[in-house]
């Protein structure tokens, strides 16, 4: 048996390691983005990579999100496998035409000719005091577009494995990295491994209520579950890891078992992806098993404020989750 080396590394290091290992093996893979060279990217994810791979493959770009996203599409269509780092996921809006009208549509419009294997990596979420234009969670927008895949890793292990799968995928993949997770650590194998897109992870088994949580909300939900356990409430937590494709079966099976569903995400609740998960359950055979109404917890419909107290109050916190669970299980 080969020995598998496991050590604790951060989410940020896991992302960097996944890219570096892939770039060592595959010449077609390169990264482009603003300040990813000597600066190492706004969050330090690519730090040290230009030293190893050089400026051709760790390619600093001007501040031109539309051009670099479109450039990535063109490069992907002609045989490269670009990874685009967008400094903040909010700036996806500037690259929107290239991602929505070009990247996502190209293959289908061409009748299955050509492919666009690219990964857009970008930090999302609030909690850093960066205010309204640097703190959004816009994943539902991307999930709405056929032709794009959407990944939201919640820990370092998943980040590494999912990024490998994203880089191997022949389609455009939007890879959301939560800013507050960058410094979190967990056990991660040194060697390359892949976590298939579309495979949920059951973070905690339980029998009373299913919570589907994404990104940072996975951690808050786990914390809530530990509290609720003391009161005899047994929560099952599912992290879909990728919202496109979505592991519908895992969620349906879980709801059939617990009879209750709560969806928790940071993005604004209105029009958020939680609505999709709730509807999916309402349309499935699991609907007959429901013992209480489905609940969604999401961000308030306000831009993210600067003041730290207000900022926290916008998105679901552990006590909100605890309360939602109690309300749900109380329902007979």
């Amino acid at each position: 048996m080969t020995e598998i080396k496991i050590r604790e590394i951060t989410y940020l290091e896991a992302v960097r390691e996944a890219m570096s290992q892939e770039m060592r093996q595959n010449e077609d893979v390169f990264i482009l983005g603003e300040d990813i060279g000597v600066y190492g990217g706004a969050f330090g994810v690519t730090r040290g990579m230009i030293e190893e791979f050089g400026p051709e493959r760790v390619r600093n770009t001007p501040i031109s999100e539309a051009a670099i996203a479109g450039g990535a599409v063109g490069a992907a269509l002609t045989g490269m496998r670009p990874i685009l780092e967008l400094q903040f996921s909010d700036f996806i809006t500037i690259a929107m035409d290239q991602l929505v009208n070009q990247a996502a549509k190209t293959r289908y419009m061409f009748g299955g000719k050509g492919k666009v294997p690219m990964v857009v990596r970008t930090p999302a979420g609030s909690g850093t005091g960066a205010a309204a234009q640097h703190s959004q969670s816009l994943e539902a927008w991307m999930a709405h577009i056929p032709g794009l895949k959407v990944v939201q890793p919640s820990n370092a292990y998943d980040a590494k494995g999912l990024l490998k799968a994203a880089m191997d995928d022949d389609n455009p993949v939007i890879f959301y990295e939560h800013k507050l997770l960058y410094r979190t650590q967990c056990n991660v194998p040194e060697e390359q491994y892949s976590i298939p897109l579309g495979k949920a992870d059951i973070k905690r088994e339980g029998k009373d209520v299913t919570i589907v949580a994404t990104a940072i909300m996975v951690h808050k939900t786990l914390e809530a579950a530990t509290e609720l356990e003391k009161e005899g409430i047994d929560v099952e937590i599912i992290d879909p890891r990728t919202i496109v494709p979505l592991d519908e079966e895992a969620i349906i099976e879980s709801v059939k078992k617990t009879g209750r569903l709560i969806v928790v995400h940071e993005a604004v609740k209105r029009g958020g992806f939680g609505g999709e998960i709730a509807s999916m359950i309402a349309e499935s055979e699991a609907f007959d098993y429901l013992d209480s109404p489905i609940k969604r917890l999401g961000g308030l419909a306000v831009p993210i404020p600067y003041n730290p107290t207000l900022e926290k109050a916008v998105v679901p916190q552990v006590p909100d989750i605890i309360e939602a669970v109690k309300e749900t299980v109380r329902f007979k």
Binding site: N60, I63, S64, A66, A132, Q133, L300, Y306, N307, L310
Partner: protein, 327 residues
């Protein structure tokens, strides 16, 4: 005396003195913010304009009160120059309810619409089209104001810059585009991010005048901006002015400044716009050394007062969270 300096004639000695003090206000404000950041007393992110005082004070100094500005993520100087209240600014950075944005905007989103400051912007290049729209209002309603639109060298590579300049040009709008070329967009040296020597050359692609000025020379700035603003006011359309300057500090707090050298920083510090302005005012006998020191002291005190004001201000109430999403 003023004529030997070739200053725009409407600039009075009194105004020159107040601009000198204002430059110190800007410097002390951002130096304080820098300190508080390091101490963790201000959160989030800020971008300081230490070293770039002349482009803010000189450009905005020639405007009339009715004129408007659009700023950038590096906007503290612009805000102060457009008669910004340093108390409200500091309170905003502290996230207090007495701040310009009631604690909801922070450094990157300060606006003072009544004073004609249409806001800082967290999106690089995001404000440039807004300036075009504000100038359109002036033209359509015949209001006679001009819009000064600030952005960085980095922003001039965004599509929004090119689309906005073209639109302003074909509609002959009263807007003057000010590119504050501080040599870097975050870590990207302007030399590597564009193939042209001067960003002002881009003006010719849109059929408008483009001019390069020494961004640390108050007189050159005031003369050039004054001319462009008055032309725009008379209906002759937009212009692009590039200010060659330098930001003394890093891009923001995450910056290890690995992309530039200490020698380069030292060279630029020698070109300090405040010192040059002071020397000139003394040489021209508009200011005495003592007066200059007094103005500098006053500025320092005002900033210290602003800190006290901010510290003593309350946090925004939780109920305010849902306010102001819609008008």
């Amino acid at each position: 005396m003023l004529s030997t300096m070739k200053l725009p004639s409407h600039i009075t000695e009194k105004k020159l003195k107040s601009l000198y003090k204002e430059m110190w206000l800007i410097r002390y404000f951002d130096e304080k913010v820098d300190q508080f950041f390091a101490k963790g007393m201000i959160h989030g992110t800020t971008h300081l304009c230490v070293g770039q005082e002349a482009s803010a004070s000189g450009s905005i100094g020639v405007l009339q009160a009715k004129d408007k500005i659009i700023s950038t993520h590096r906007g503290h100087g612009h805000c102060i120059a457009k008669e910004g209240d340093v108390n409200k600014m500091m309170a905003e950075l502290f996230g207090r309810v007495t701040g310009y944005c009631k604690g909801k905007g922070g450094s990157m989103h300060i606006a003072d619409v009544e004073k004609g400051n249409l806001g800082a912007n967290g999106i690089v290049g995001g404000g440039i089209p807004l300036a075009v729209g504000a100038a359109l209002t002036s033209k359509m309603k015949n209001q006679g104001y001009v819009v000064l639109c600030f952005f960085g060298d980095g922003a001039s590579n965004e599509g929004s810059f090119h689309e906005a300049l073209n639109l302003a040009a074909i509609w002959d709008l009263p807007v003057v585009f000010i590119c504050e070329n501080n040599q870097y967009g975050m870590s990207g040296p302007v030399k590597e991010m564009t193939r042209i020597e001067n960003i002002a050359e881009r003006a010719s692609a849109y059929g408008i005048p483009g001019k390069v000025v020494d961004g640390n020379d108050m007189i050159e700035i005031m003369n050039t901006v004054h001319e462009a603003v008055e032309k725009a006011r008379e209906g002759n359309g937009p212009a692009l002015i590039e200010m060659k300057t330098y930001r003394w500090k890093g891009h923001s707090k995450s910056d290890a400044k690995k992309y530039r050298t200490r020698e380069e920083e030292t060279e630029w510090r020698k070109k300090d716009g405040i010192k040059r302005f002071k020397d000139l005012l003394i040489e021209e006998k508009i200011l005495s050394e003592e007066e200059a020191n007094k103005l500098q002291e006053e500025a320092k005190k005002e900033i210290e007062e602003a800190v006290k004001f901010a510290e003593n201000s309350p946090e925004p109430p939780l109920e305010s969270l849902l306010e102001d999403v819609y008008a």
